[in-house]
């Protein structure tokens, strides 16, 4: 079971001052690539046990924000504070070691490996060992391998993908690839799960399944989840809070219903000019 101790889940309506330290604090992040300003002064708090949705029109900078949190991009200004400590300048694998797992907008599975091996890569962080022991295999390396295999099998059961264990990942249909990517992220037993459009390109049934899985993950393991999503009904259904980005700025934040009715948000989606 994941290590995230179950802090009080922030429920809507709780008095702000009584909330514990947020798990992730994004403070004034600005990122530009040459002349393109991808993010301007974006701030966001994500509390333990929350499900936060990040929405916004295409090109708003949502994936860029996740990339900054992952440590893949380093912001020119601003800080990322994870679990109380400044993590802005960490390398991606260091961020992963802290307990942040991720899925990607364009499915980033390892096409040359089977589903099982892909999910096992999610466990790589937890695998200690020396390559010489691995070279011998029989002994400590084998025991560790089997222990992690057992953990991965639990994730496979959870996401109901037993049948495709040995299929090369490249041969799966899109919906299943997305599910395997989620499995890989879950295998790491993360504190914070970042999902980049986990339901993109799926039909209604697949979306329902995915929603159910995301909610199950949240309910059973208490994982904090931040997801980027375009489908409004999904966002309304599962998120506790919503943050809206447009042209690299945060233009709204709050409970799903409040955000949906927000004038600035509606304008952004309709493409009306605003400052």
């Amino acid at each position: 079971m994941p290590g995230a101790a179950q802090e009080e889940i922030s429920a809507p309506g709780t008095v702000a001052g009584a909330r514990p330290e947020p798990l992730l604090r994004v403070e004034g992040i600005s990122v530009h690539f040459g002349a393109v300003q991808a993010l301007s002064d974006v701030s966001l708090d994500i509390h333990r046990g929350e499900i936060v949705a990040i929405i916004g029109p295409n090109g708003a900078g949502k994936t860029t924000l996740l990339n900054v949190i992952s440590g893949f991009y380093h912001p020119q200004r601003g800080r990322i504070i994870f679990d109380g400590k400044d993590r802005t300048d960490l390398k991606p694998f260091e961020v992963a070691e802290l307990g942040v797992a991720r899925t990607f907008q364009n499915v980033a599975l390892f096409k040359g490996m089977t589903v099982l091996d892909n999910i096992m890569t999610g466990r790589l962080l937890k695998m200690r060992g020396h390559f010489l022991l691995d070279a011998i295999y029989w002994g400590p390396a084998r025991r560790q391998e089997l222990a992690h295999r057992a953990a991965v099998e639990r994730v496979i059961d959870f996401l109901e993908i037993q049948a495709i264990r040995k299929t090369p990942a490249g041969r799966l249909p899109y919906g299943l690839q997305k599910r395997v990517e989620l499995a890989r992220a879950l295998a790491a037993e993360p504190q914070l799960l970042l999902l980049d459009e986990p339901m993109a390109g799926m039909n209604v049934e697949e979306k329902e399944d995915m929603c159910r899985f995301v909610l199950d993950v949240h309910d059973e393991f208490g994982t904090t989840i931040a997801l980027i999503e375009h489908d409004m009904s999904v966002v309304m259904d599962i998120s506790d809070r919503v943050a809206v980005l447009d042209y690299g700025r945060k233009i709204a934040e709050g409970a799903p219903d409040a955000v949906r009715a927000d004038r600035a948000v509606i304008d952004a989606y309709l493409g009306l000019a605003h400052d």
């Binding site: 690539f33 994936t63 990339n67 893949f72 990607f104 980033a108």
Partner: protein
């Protein structure tokens, strides 16, 4: 080729070997250079000439990479092959202009064959697969060229003597001068071709994204044949220049390997980059060999270019002129 100085000309001063080493590397070579400016100019000119020849071959790479995204390892052997064909025809008594024309036609035919047999079946494969296919092509053409025209070293006479004349005390080699000028002209034409013409733009589109280019109606097959033919022409010119200088022989295909550091410095998609890279490598190599070589027993040319490129890559992974790749995920 003017003879190299025998040993670093500094008089040994009593001191630790470390100081001697540092003097030998950091001080003496420059002192040597300053001491004989005429010689330095000759070395520099030799470096520029060699560099331009590297650039010529690198150009062929850049063309193909720019237009089809393929790193054509066989470019070097195309240089050899074209030179072999030319010499072979000339040996059979074919007059030079006709031989040139026939060789060019052969290279075009080769381009057709390569497009049909190698490129088309592999159109969607990752770059590394295409690269390895061109390695296979390299070996095939090597064997084929030797089989067709024989393996001996051949003399290539294009009517320009390998003699030197003196300009203000500096020796200048006629052949090298011709090669340099030809390279410069060819490069100029190609640069204009890419930047200004419609076909040039289409080529750049294809290099960016094959499928997108196809979807807007750019005739991929035609483009590839055009590009590989032009690359073949460049290879032919390079082959003539190299062949006239050192004879047409198997080691010509090793030049391809030498062009790789040039490409690294100049970036894989930049025509001016190929020139700049070639010059830097050519001059750097010559200077290194002449002034630093004696320190370590010579023959630095074997690896100097690669180490130079490696050092460069560590600082600037995209080369001098390459675009900084912003990775997305």
């Amino acid at each position: 080729m003017p003879c190299a100085p025998t040993a670093p000309s500094s008089t040994p001063i009593s001191g630790s070997p470390m100081i001697e080493l540092l003097r030998g590397v950091l001080v003496a070579p420059f002192a040597d250079m300053a001491g004989n400016l005429t010689f330095l100019t000759e070395v520099l000119f030799g470096g520029v000439a060699a560099g331009l020849m590297y650039s010529l071959v690198a150009l062929g790479f850049v063309l193909i990479f720019k237009a089809s995204g393929v790193f054509n390892f066989a470019q070097g052997v195309m240089v050899l092959f074209s030179a072999l064909t030319l010499v072979g025809l000339m040996e059979k008594g074919v007059p030079v202009p006709l031989a040139l024309g026939l060789t060019f036609l052969t290279m075009v035919a080769l381009a057709f064959a390569i497009e049909r047999i190698v490129l088309r079946p592999l159109v969607n494969q990752p770059q590394i697969i295409l690269f390895m296919a061109t390695i296979g092509l390299n070996f095939f053409l090597e064997g084929f060229g030797e089989m067709a025209w024989g393996a001996n070293v051949k003399k290539l006479d294009i009517g320009i003597p390998d003699t030197s004349f003196i300009v203000r005390g500096v020796q200048v080699n006629r052949l090298e001068l011709t090669a340099a000028l030809t390279a410069a002209v060819l490069v100029g034409i190609l640069a204009v071709f890419f930047q200004r013409t419609k076909i040039g733009r289409a080529l750049r589109a294809v290099a960016d994204d094959h499928e997108a280019a196809l979807s807007i109606g750019i005739p991929l097959k035609t483009i590839w044949v055009v590009v590989w033919s032009v690359a073949g022409l460049v290879a032919l010119v390079a082959g003539i220049m190299w062949g006239a200088k050192s004879g047409v022989q198997f080691s010509l295909s090793l030049i391809a390997l030498k062009s790789l550091p040039v490409l690294i410095l100049g970036g894989f998609t930049s025509v001016p980059g190929a020139i700049a890279g070639g010059l830097i490598i050519g001059v750097g190599e010559k200077l290194g060999e002449v002034y630093w070589g004696p320190l370590v027993g010579g023959a630095i040319e074997n690896w100097f270019a690669y180490v130079l490129a490696l050092a460069f890559l560590l600082v600037r992974p995209q080369g001098l002129f390459g675009e900084r790749i912003i990775e997305r995920v």
